[in-house]
């Protein structure tokens, strides 16, 4: 109990004293994950919607693959991205290993299947609801697509938020490809792992509270902006 209390105290202390390291680490966490979520959404939302709306031969296979990718352990993704980006790997010439960009790439790989899968599920449900109406009104393929994406926009936003949740708390992959280098690639989760390893539980917990606070704050902010709380129905 005292450790949690100490952690809370440490967190408040870090925040109210505008601890420069803490802000730097927190901002880097946000930068990495938000950038990854943007890329993942750009890829995953259209992909998921497409899979929900178009029938093609290998659709089932792609959906199954997506669900399998969703369960990939982040450390394995980290390892693969590491091998790709390491000096002897195919993308070694870009010198990206141990940079925030490498962490973003790893997170995009982890988050995209999740975003696509949730988007797929959501749009498929909406299509089932709207099917008879859209067919009856003779909506063209393009009109159907636009209607479903527009009316499903909140569900799509949820998919992105789920991606953010997965990314901001992820440690395995970014530890491997980022290396947890102070002032370069250290983020909240890797810092927590480090402090815990060193036995500084108060600081680790303090960082943990900051992490939770960030995740909740971002979710609330987005809901506020999109007005989901007001309208209730997704």
């Amino acid at each position: 109990m005292t450790e949690i209390f100490e952690g809370l105290k440490a967190a408040i202390w870090l925040i109210v004293t505008f601890d420069a390291d803490l802000y730097e680490i927190a901002l880097r966490s946000l930068y990495v994950t938000i950038t990854a979520v943007i890329f993942s959404s750009v890829i995953g939302l259209p992909l998921g919607s497409y899979l929900a709306l178009r029938r093609f031969r290998r659709r089932r296979l792609v959906v199954a693959l997506l669900n399998a990718l969703m369960g990939l352990p982040p450390v394995v993704v980290g390892l693969i991205v590491y091998l790709m980006l390491s000096r002897s790997g195919p993308f070694g010439v870009f010198g990206l290993l141990f940079t925030p960009t490498a962490m973003i790439i790893a997170q995009v790989v982890i988050i995209t299947p999740l975003v696509a899968s949730i988007a797929h599920q959501a749009i498929r449900e909406l299509w089932a609801e709207y099917h008879d109406l859209l067919i009856s009104l003779n909506a063209t393929r393009g009109q159907r697509m636009r209607t479903l994406l527009w009316d499903g926009r909140r569900a799509l936003l949820t998919a992105s938020l789920a991606g953010f949740g997965r990314g901001i708390g992820e440690v395995g992959a970014i530890m491997i490809v980022g290396g947890n280098i102070d002032h370069v690639t250290r983020v909240l989760t890797t810092a927590i792992a480090l402090e815990t390893g060193k036995g500084d539980f108060a600081l680790a917990l303090g960082l943990g509270f900051v992490l939770i606070f960030l995740a909740v704050a971002i979710n609330l902010l987005i809901h506020r902006i999109s007005g989901t709380e007001v309208h209730g129905r997704w």
Partner: protein, 238 residues
């Protein structure tokens, strides 16, 4: 109007799903005016018949031939489904939706939607979210959405199933007005009183088969099949 979708030829229509016949050899001739009521016990095939006529069922036999090509025909028809389909939008945008699909500007579509909402007495709910409406209000919204496109033919699948007496009367009045303005109506209902009030002719289905198609008066006064006689007496139809 550029040429009516009537007359329609409905010959030997059969719809099967999972080996079971939902419609079995239905032939019908429908007059270009009036209100046709489709009756029959649960599972008789009423909804399936309406959807088939609307071009939403794949036929396993027979044919339905309207006097206009399929694309034109479906645009001149509207369908109110047994359970109202709610779009995740405000009520007014639900009603305006068919017009926006046709390329009407959103301002004009909303203005018309507002007028229709007044007519179905949903004016005050215009800016609520559709999911907030009561069961009866949802059905009125679906009716307004169907009528806004001024269809030549309107299908209704038990549109008053959840409505109280007053709301049912309101809808019936709207349907009579629409019909007087030239909208042909084909409607499935379980409500015997409603059928008597509205029907010009009655189609009676049982177990996927057409048992009777007659003038309303003839059907209610002297049904010819024992099944229809039993149905009208409120007995269980075998």
């Amino acid at each position: 109007m550029v040429g009516s979708i009537f007359p329609v030829e409905i010959a030997d229509v059969t719809v099967r799903k999972r080996g079971q016949a939902l419609l079995d050899g239905i032939s019908l001739s429908l007059a270009p005016q009036g209100i046709t009521i489709v009756m029959g016990p649960n599972g008789a095939g009423k909804s399936t018949l309406l959807k088939a006529l609307h071009g939403m069922e794949r036929l396993n036999g027979g044919h339905i031939q309207w006097s206009q090509p399929k694309s034109v025909t479906q645009k001149r028809q509207a369908f109110v489904f047994q359970t109202p389909i709610l779009m995740r939008r405000p009520v007014i945008d639900n009603v305006a939706y068919p017009l926006t699909l046709r390329g009407v500007s959103s301002a004009e579509a909303r203005e018309k939607a507002r007028q229709w909402l007044e007519r179905v007495k949903l004016g005050p709910a215009a800016h609520q979210h559709a999911a907030e409406l009561s069961g009866g209000e949802r059905q009125k919204m679906a009716l307004a959405r169907a009528l806004i496109g001024e269809p030549e033919l309107l299908f209704l699948d038990e549109p008053c199933a959840n409505l109280d007496g007053r709301a049912t009367r309101e809808i019936e009045e709207l349907l009579l007005v629409a019909n007087a303005d030239g909208t042909r109506i084909i409607m499935a209902t379980h409500d015997m009183g409603q059928a008597r009030r509205l029907a010009d002719d009655v189609v009676f289905l049982n177990k996927a088969k057409l048992l009777e198609h007659a003038d309303a008066q003839a059907f209610f006064e002297s049904p010819t099949t024992p099944q229809a006689q039993a149905f009208l007496k409120g007995e269980i139809v075998e």
